[in-house]
């Protein structure tokens, strides 16, 4: 009777269970792919240099330069990753790296770029 999670304290550090209890979920969010719409695209190097946004499929990498930026193969910043993903800064400093690709982009009514990123 009752739920499998309320019979006793289960959230002990170091305990690994397969039923969703224990000390870890087994998922490291640094190792997760994510997609987002980039911010400040119109102010970033790529748009100011080229006057346009990178096309769908353009390869991207992530760098930590004050904020987390998506960078095109030519080294130009395409846009900033939303602050909800600020945890990626810690991941990058811990040695994780990310590659990505533009999944949608356009210049009207204002420049926009959406992208997906995955850990290398």
């Amino acid at each position: 009777m009752g739920s499998r999670t309320s019979g006793r304290l289960t959230d002990y550090s170091g305990v690994k269970n397969s039923n969703g209890t224990g000390g870890t979920s087994g998922v490291d969010r640094c190792g997760q792919s994510f997609d987002c719409s980039l911010e400040d695209v119109a102010q970033c190097d790529y748009f100011t240099m080229h006057g346009t946004v990178p096309p769908v499929g353009t390869e991207l990498t992530l760098v930590l330069e004050r904020r987390i930026f998506a960078v095109a193969p030519d080294g130009l910043k395409v846009g900033a990753v939303p602050t909800a993903y600020n945890y990626i800064a810690g991941c990058i400093k811990a040695g994780h790296s990310y590659v990505g690709a533009v999944t949608a982009s356009g210049s009207t009514p204002m420049p926009f770029v959406s992208a997906v990123f995955t850990p290398k």
């Binding site: 739920s3 499998r4 999670t5 309320s6 006793r8 304290l9 289960t10 959230d11 002990y12 550090s13 170091g14 969703g20 224990g22 000390g23 870890t24 979920s25 998922v27 490291d28 969010r29 640094c30 930590l64 004050r66 904020r67 987390i68 939303p82 602050t83 909800a84 993903y85 600020n86 945890y87 800064a89 810690g90 991941c91 400093k93 811990a94």
Partner: protein, 445 residues
């Protein structure tokens, strides 16, 4: 990196059993709460700590065992809770609106202090989370030279209860979800600042939920704004406790840096209920310098700035419609101190079959109200034409639209693509609202 001091902090307060009820997609969760939240934060940051716990007899052994496994140097059973199991049932763990705490048998609860001798006398840094006990009775257990900080979010009627610590107060922390804040600081924060200053406190921390936090240095009168990092909330219970504890734990780096580190640890605590995941996340966050954290930014929207950004509610808000999702959204917006403008409440509800001229007059009034507002929060329950037209008008006039589509009846390119945030999850929509109004607030400064 961990706090530089090896001297343990003493954390004083109640140990609670937190039970979060199951919801669709989320199982129930049983955890030790109260000061154990603070303890998890200190453990994750590698900060040395001990606890003086007030709790029922039945939980003492389990709490002691749990804390020993999570870095606690010394466990002192300071007081026995009688008449209550100290179990809190939590309805909404994401704090989209009021969390709906149910503190079982709270009116029957009393505390009987134990004989602890001078067990607490050696601690020079103390953090107290007030509970159902008289703070004045704690003073005799502590060294007269100990610096004492308080998180007065709950169980504090007014500041007079901590006056007995005047002159040796480090930090006073409070949350905007606190009943004391609602009574004393919700309209104007100055009275709280004045009282904290009179106590001789070094800093006053106001935790403003999804809008970040502000640290008032009462000695220099500087105000440090620490933004929130908004992502999907797993469980917000105890997040504020982690903030306060980690901030006090890092006090030797200066209160400003300590507040930033407390905030980041709290953010990590909100996204997982697994202690090892939390610690790993915190370990990476601690590798960032203060400057790096500041540069990364986040969402800043002070409590007291929110009412000036009026939010137009686009929804079938009619008296004859069964609309629990709309009511929940309104409750959440008001909980976060936003001004919700409800056209149907303000301009009236027309009977079916009203004449075209009456309909036109109402259309004009509603669109004028929409024009006055900064942001549109839409809750289309079905394929509601009125709501969709209001959203379209707002999008055409470049106003920000946040769409909470609880029944997923409108997952359409124009609806989702035209909304700054679109989801059937109110938590995500409230986050989106904070992010967008934060941008408006920043631009208005």
């Amino acid at each position: 990196m961990s706090a530089s001091s090896a001297t343990p902090i003493l954390v004083v307060g109640e140990i609670i059993v937190d039970f979060t009820v199951a919801r669709p997609g989320a199982e129930c969760k049983l955890r030790l709460g109260g000061i154990v939240h603070a303890a998890r934060g200190l453990w994750a940051c590698g900060i040395s700590y001990s606890v003086a716990a007030v709790c029922p007899r039945y939980i003492v052994d389990q709490a002691q065992r749990f804390l020993a496994a999570h870095g606690c140097n010394e466990f002192v059973w300071l007081g026995e809770v009688k008449g209550s199991p100290n179990v809190i049932v939590i309805g909404d763990a994401t704090e989209v609106s009021d969390q709906g705490y149910e503190d079982l048998l709270r009116e029957e609860k009393s505390v009987e202090f134990q004989e602890v001798g001078d067990a607490l006398n050696s601690f020079s840094e103390v953090l107290i989370f007030p509970g159902k006990f008289h703070l004045s009775k704690i003073t005799k257990f502590l060294s007269a030279t100990a610096r004492v900080s308080f998180d007065i979010a709950y169980d504090t009627e007014d500041f007079s209860s901590i006056e007995c610590f005047a002159g040796r107060v480090g930090a006073v922390a409070i949350s905007t979800s606190s009943p004391l804040f609602a009574r004393v600081g919700a309209v104007d924060i100055d009275p709280m600042i004045e009282v904290a200053t009179a106590l001789g406190a070094e800093v006053f921390l106001l935790k403003e939920n999804r809008g970040g936090s502000r640290l008032f240095d009462l000695r220099t009168h500087e105000v440090e704004s620490v933004p929130a990092i908004l992502s999907a909330t797993a469980n917000s219970v105890g997040v504020g406790d982690v903030y306060s504890a980690v901030m006090v734990g890092f006090r030797e780096r200066g209160w400003k840096e300590a507040a930033w580190r407390g905030a980041r640890a709290a953010t990590s605590y909100a996204v997982t209920t697994y202690p090892d995941d939390f610690r790993e996340d915190v370990r990476r966050e601690l590798a960032l310098s203060l400057e790096e954290m500041q540069d990364l930014g986040g969402t800043m929207l002070p409590w007291h700035a929110r009412p000036s950004f009026h939010i137009y509610l686009a929804a079938p808000d009619f008296s004859y419609v069964d609309k629990p999702e709309v009511d929940r959204a309104v409750e959440a917006l008001q909980y976060h101190n936003f001004t919700v403008r409800r056209p149907i409440k303000e301009n009236g509800e027309l009977p079916r079959g009203s004449s075209p001229s009456v309909l036109r007059a109402m259309f004009a009034k509603d669109t004028a109200l929409l024009e006055e507002c900064s942001v549109i929060f839409a809750v289309p329950l079905e394929r509601d034409p009125g709501t969709l037209v209001e959203m379209g008008i707002a999008m055409a006039s470049k106003k920000t639209v946040i769409t909470f589509d609880p029944r997923r009846e409108n997952n359409n390119t124009m609806v989702a693509g035209g909304s700054a945030a679109y989801s059937d999850d109110l938590d995500i929509c409230i986050n989106g609202l904070f992010i967008e109004i934060s941008k408006l607030w920043m631009a208005s400064r």
